[in-house]
Symmetry: C2
Subunit: 348 residues, 2 copies
DNA sequence: ATTCGACGTTGAAACGATTCACGCACCCTA
DNA sequence: TAGGGTGCGTGAATCGTTTCAACGTCGAAT
């Protein structure tokens, strides 16, 4: 009775149970599973029937314990809810699928502790490699990881060391593009809603911003109003604008947001404050996400090759694996592109 | 030399290596790791030093093989790139964190095969339970999974059976809300950009649509123009509109899109065709995603309690685990809410 | 008739962590 | 001083799979 009507399995059937039921050895069952052509038809059928009857499901832990490793890599992005990163992840998956690798995907939410936790989790699970958008200070941990035999590729950031590959978009150039554009429209007082300097993208885009201002003969100290926000999402953008508008001093006439999600929140807050766009405030975002062109005021943004970014990172990782010591580490860098729309330029 | 300067580990150090180096038995190392207070201070320190020196990292497979199970559950959503589902996932994570469970998250991309593959992968990895937004026909597999001891909670769909719990939002009501609104604005010819009937949400929302039309004394056969699209994203929405506008017959004056991503694509295509909104075409979406209120024409949409949906699903799953046989299966259903904006109502 | 290879199958060793019954040393108490 | 705890540590068994040397059997070749 307990075998026929059990509501809940007492124990998962193992390969041994299958072997007993089919009247063969465990080795044969394993062969049926992994090298079916080395088993005679009749035996194979008998085993398959037993597998079906027992509803046998392989135990991945045992499998992997024996094998030592699995066809899996991990990826840690800054924010899984950001369309930019989901598109990158899609690129990663597409490349991995070709080599029948699977992906463990996690979001650090810009928190170094979460990043470290996931890194450890991935390692404990025996991934062959990781793609990471690292927070500040995690480089040493990544180098140590690499030394322990887990390949590392930096994602959306340029590698500071020669023996770790990276795939990035030129963020300095992107930041410059945005601000050069605003300056060319005549703005001389520009707000920059930026994330913490623990995030490399924020540092680089800021560098581009400063360079563009200086290059245009403006003094950053006077022309730039920096607002630092805690998280790079819509809430952060709203928060940034609220603080900006509450501050004393001349209100900027233009604003560069570190990404489109932030810009979305900023636009929402600006609207709530009755600030008209682009007349009273020109706004530029970053990423050119799917909805940027469709907003009340279509958002000027810096476009990046998202899918290609992810695809290339995965490609480097897999090639590093297969080529071994002969692999040449490299820093791949793509160029961003400014897409001008109504949020900055009234003539469009 | 090979031990000091090895660039790449020959083999991951095991608990045995640590034990040897520290001059203790493996049992003691395990105790240091799992019950540190049962080990004397000096021994513990010695072991910790060895762990540090060898850069020892636990092997999750071995650990889990012995333990039999892990504090992990899986979730399969229809589309990870849809903000609706990322918000749901966030709710799931928040509840799981309280019980120190981890989440394996995957996207089926509305493909039953992908769903089945991930389900199997989760099972092989020994998850304790799964939350699934199922495709049509996968119920039997889910019941079988439950019978094999893996708890199942249906996510964003109402359970068709008594002994599997579910957490959903009333999609029939949601569909009705959308169309009642359009009818109240005087529309008598309404397009419905819907996904395939293999997706329960699409079936339910359609049922609500039909009910609303009938309730208003309209004949669905005449009043409703259905367009079925392959995937519920922006591309699908664009495709749907293109096909709608290319078709013969009187053009509808209103349109209900099965979700906001689809609506976004639809709006893009409508704009490309020079159709003005809401004058020539009123548009209603579904989900009220973060950018809905910020679009060129703010999108009327049906709002759902996303975070709560995920949180509750995870809560049911964990309680099912802990309460065992005494657990009462339940169908939780939340109510949707219509948010009226400019894409349907010119007066807003 | 013997040898040989091919084929199919076997069974035990290994993977690395956890667990638990047991042993040892020590101190406290009667 | 014997008896009984207590506190630490040990080491073998165990989880389920894969792998591989070894074995029997059969047919073909010599």
């Amino acid at each position: 009775m307990s075998t026929t009507t059990r509501g809940r399995a007492d124990r998962r059937p193992s390969i041994t149970d299958v072997a007993k039921r089919a009247g063969v050895s465990v080795g044969t069952v394993s062969n049926v599973l992994n090298r079916p052509d080395q088993v005679s038809d009749t035996t194979r059928d008998r085993v398959l029937v037993a597998i079906e009857e027992l509803q046998f499901v392989r135990n991945a832990s045992a499998r992997q314990l024996r094998a030592g490793t699995i066809q899996t890599v991990g990826a840690i992005v800054l924010d899984i809810a950001n369309p930019f990163f989901t598109e990158v992840a899609r690129g990663v998956e597409d490349r991995l699928a070709a080599d029948e690798y699977t992906l463990m995907l996690s979001s650090s939410d810009e928190d170094p502790e979460r990043e470290a936790r996931y890194l450890r989790l991935f390692e404990e699970h025996g991934v062959q490699g990781v793609m990471v958008t690292p927070s500040a200070g995690s480089l040493d941990a990544l180098i140590a990881l690499r030394d322990r035999g887990i390949d590392v590729v930096l994602l959306d950031t340029t590698s500071p060391v020669d023996d770790i590959s990276s795939v990035a978009v030129d963020d300095v150039r992107g930041g410059a593009l945005a601000v050069e554009h605003l300056v060319s429209l005549g703005h001389t007082r520009i707000a920059f809603i930026n994330g913490p300097q623990t995030i490399k993208q924020c540092v680089d885009r800021r560098e581009g911003v400063i360079a563009a201002l200086t290059g245009a003969g403006l003094d950053p100290a006077a022309a730039l109003v920096e607002v630092t926000i805690g998280s790079l999402n819509a809430e952060g953008g709203e928060d940034g604008v609220n603080r900006l508008l509450a501050a004393d001093g001349a209100r900027p006439t233009a604003m560069f947001c570190v990404n489109d999600l932030t810009a979305l929140g900023a636009l929402r807050a600006l609207r709530a404050h009755g600030v008209s766009i682009p007349d009273e405030m020109a706004v530029v975002g970053y990423d050119d996400v799917v909805f940027a062109s469709m907003l009340t005021v279509p958002l000027t943004s810096v476009r990046q090759p998202t899918h290609q970014l992810g695809w290339t990172a995965a490609d480097l990782l897999l090639r590093q694996r297969s080529e071994g010591a002969s692999f040449q580490h490299q820093r791949v860098q793509f160029q961003p592109e400014l897409v001008i729309r109504g949020s900055s330029d009234p003539s469009t």
